[in-house]
Symmetry: C2
Subunit: 158 residues, 2 copies
Amino acid sequence: MSDITTDFNDKTVEYDQLLHDFKSLLKRNNLKFTIQREVILETLYNSDEHLAPEALHHLIQDKYPDLNTGIATVYRTLALLEDSSMVTSLSFGAQGKKYELGAKEHHDHLICTKCGSIAEFVDEKIEERQHKIAEELGFEMSDHSMQIYGICKDCQNK
Amino acid sequence: MSDITTDFNDKTVEYDQLLHDFKSLLKRNNLKFTIQREVILETLYNSDEHLAPEALHHLIQDKYPDLNTGIATVYRTLALLEDSSMVTSLSFGAQGKKYELGAKEHHDHLICTKCGSIAEFVDEKIEERQHKIAEELGFEMSDHSMQIYGICKDCQNK
DNA sequence: GTCGCTGCAAAGTCTTTGCAGAGAG
DNA sequence: CTCTCTGCAAAGACTTTGCAGCGAC
């Protein structure tokens, strides 16, 4: 058996907890809790994909057409969430970034260069090693990310 | 002593070799060898930095003002070089990508979130592990990249 | 009520593309 | 000579910003 653990779509934090954290964050910074902000958080939570701002906006428009949420608000909220480390962004190949909730367990990425899909994995040995490297080089590490590029199983079979 | 090897500014390929490879590449694809393309390759080779297209363009304008190289040509040549895997690009945080010659020895990156500087390192254990992970998950790996984000030594001392 | 938030549209970045003349092979 | 390249400027893609009215607290 492999010691590589995969955590596809693992939800390690309950939504209520997440929402509570978000509200605290807002309160601490004298910001207001709005329905748009909640919907953005919820949509990120319910998505198992890494979302581009535009894709996130579309999901929200589809589900809550009456809110008529503007793309600018999506960008503004993502920036807010990223600044507060509640979401992390991934940018590669194409233009733009994709976002995911940081509350899910940390993981690295396998990116298919053919279909653009992103799978996730965790490897403890690599995690340990990264910390050791930063330490030895006198670098104060705050975060890290790793991507493996290639062709995913599905695309290999096509 | 640490087994982590750093390879700052290591040039593992001579320029003549690189130029030769570039010419072959062009010939194979019925493309033409132009002074602009040479200057772009040379400037990338002589730079120890990861260059954004605009920065590369400025370097070229400064060194060869008479060529009046257009930014569009820089973008076109970088795309060509990246497609042929002669350069790799790195995109993170801010907008845009930074490029470096792929001919240098493979390495991963330590990115300072304060000053934007990029340092490099190689760790064999991580390299091995990456191959193993891709293999076990049925992923046909073509490339990978790893970034550690944090505050570099210089910025810590400020 | 106050002050931050929102949608809209306009403005900014960064990158790509169309075109006519220049230049490599 | 032919066919690709190039610089320019215009167009595109993505993101940010200014503003006037709206809404959370």
